[in-house]
Amino acid sequence: MTDPAQGVLQGSVTQQENQQEGRRRWRPQWTARMALIPAMAITIFCFYGFIIWTFVISLTRSRLLPVYKFTGFDQYARLFANERWWTAMGNLAIHGFLFIGGCIVFGYLLAILIDRGVKAEGLYRTVFMLPLSMSFIVTGVIWQWVMNPGLGLQEAVRALGWAGFEFNWIVRPDRSIYTLAIAGIWQQVGLCMALFLAGLRNIDPNIWKAARVDGIPVWRVYLHIITPMMRAVFFTVFILMSAIVMKAFDLVVALTGGGPGFSSDLPARFIVDHILNRQELGLGAAGAFVLLCTVIAVIAPYIYFELQKERSGRGH
């Protein structure tokens, strides 16, 4: 693979050629600029332009189609007076806490177990990351069946002899939001494990040697020495999982459909529903903009951190 590269390297650099560089460089430089045009157009128009457009729509009274009659922040006032929106935002907080927390705790534990040096490590990793290759729709449909109160897990456990076993959360308005976290953690825990494992593998082996010499028990090394060293990995995992949670749409559609009622609704679903089905374009746009602000508040420190890392030359 490196052969063509080496061929170029061996073509020796002489003074003469160095002087020609100036004359030759202008053309490829321009081609390079031209090559950026499609991606630049997408960035400027389809990302930032469309964000502004959505914001403009949120200031109008648009319903089925965009109507550019401005009403100030009326749609935001309607949004903040909308009970379903607050249900969805509250659910986002509950689901976010459980999903992110669960992924971090279980992902870290699995990574530590694998890091203890097991045979067939590859097999365990493959299994833990298997759900990641599936769509959230697939995950949602599978778990809807598993949690089916009539024929699913509840009945199966009762048939095993535990007659009083109850697991009907998916049809209970006060519990359905928790089922999202179960299915979500099942799907994403492998990703957290992989990120934590990569972090654990970067730890200087001398730390382990020193701890062994001092006779510190393994669990204390993890708790007091390794975990504080993994701060950056925890941060990254937290951000990545937050990004997934705030976009969560497919899973809730396939698993609970936001129900019963709107009891497991999430903001992403609220927005799509109002834009596509309810002919409340302005309200949906206002919701979308509020969601974007939430995302920015969480992500901005991360982007800043990443760019700082690059600037300080540590690269990737």
Binding site: T2, A5, V8, L9, T43, V127
Partner: protein
């Protein structure tokens, strides 16, 4: 003492593995059962008389149970998904490779600013730009068509693929690039003969992940697909959500299995490449 520790270690890992695999087992086993067996048995049991009847129904549809011109099978939406994924895959990876190469190898003013702007684009929830994108695709006259969905996937994929290639090309030694340029290599020769051959592993990672993301997409397919461009995930959700008469869980599970199979196969065959890329691409969710 040491031995008990090892035992506990393997025990815990195995319990976790079983918990991950159990829903997959339930999906496969349910899809091979008859409805009678599902009603009378438990989700944990193996099928007594395994058969592919439900798979046939999921694939070809059940004309007695659906209204309208189709029988509700997934076969047509499978073809739609294939027709969307393949062009969208090559276009988004190709555009990302060229953009990433241009940003990394040709020192230009503002390259880092543009990269940062693009990177932020990866975090934007698709709901925020959804409606303007609908207007754009409608104005182009490709709403509800496969080309429309391909374009939408390229737009949403380019930030991720660019990031993968740009970050990889940044690790190529500057001396190598300098030498190539002094040898008179222009933009495209340097790309085709030096950079692209170097980037084969990252090309593989980007292809695998883009395949997985596009195949698994639901929101874009739902919004832009219409009736003619309905990808498999949307068809699956419709099938599960809108059966007439009694729900056939075996057909649901067979349909789910069929939808999951392509990405599952890619994952199991590619193994390490998938693992390498998924971390970098995780932000796409």
């Amino acid at each position: 003492m040491m031995r008990y520790n090892r035992l506990a270690l393997y025990g815990l890992l195995s319990v976790a593995a079983i918990m991950i695999l159990l829903p997959v087992f339930i999906m496969v086993s349910t899809s091979l059962k008859s409805m009678d067996e599902i009603r009378n048995g438990s989700i944990f049991t193996l099928p007594v008389d395994p058969g592919f009847a439900a798979w046939g129904k999921a694939w070809f549809g059940d004309c007695a149970k659906t209204l309208g011109d189709t029988c509700g099978g997934l076969s047509s939406s499978f073809m739609t998904s294939v027709k969307i994924v393949i062009p969208a895959l090559f276009l988004s990876v190709g555009l990302g490779a060229v953009t990433g190469y241009s940003l990394a190898a040709w020192k230009m003013k503002g390259a880092n600013v543009m990269f940062a702007a693009l990177l932020v684009g990866m975090f934007i929830p698709p709901q925020v730009t959804l409606y303007p994108l609908i207007i754009m695709i409608r104005e182009l006259g490709i709403f509800g068509t496969i080309p429309g969905l391909i374009l939408v996937h390229v737009i949403w994929g380019v930030a991720f693929t660019t990031m993968m290639f740009r970050n990889f090309f940044k690790t190529v030694p500057q001396d190598l690039l300098k030498a190539a340029r002094i040898d008179g290599a222009g933009f495209w020769p340097l790309f085709w003969h030096v950079m692209l051959p170097l980037s084969l592993p990252i090309l593989g990672v980007a292809m695998i992940l883009q395949f997985t993301y596009i195949w698994n997409d639901f929101l874009l397919g739902l919004t832009f697909g219409g009736r003619a461009g309905q990808p498999m995930t949307v068809a699956l959700n419709n099938l599960v959500g809108s059966q007439f008469g009694e729900k056939e869980y075996n057909v649901d599970m067979a349909a789910t299995m069929l939808t999951a199979l392509p990405t599952l196969a890619v994952y199991l065959l590619s193994g390490r490449l998938f693992v390498r890329g998924i971390a970098a691409g995780a932000v796409k969710g």
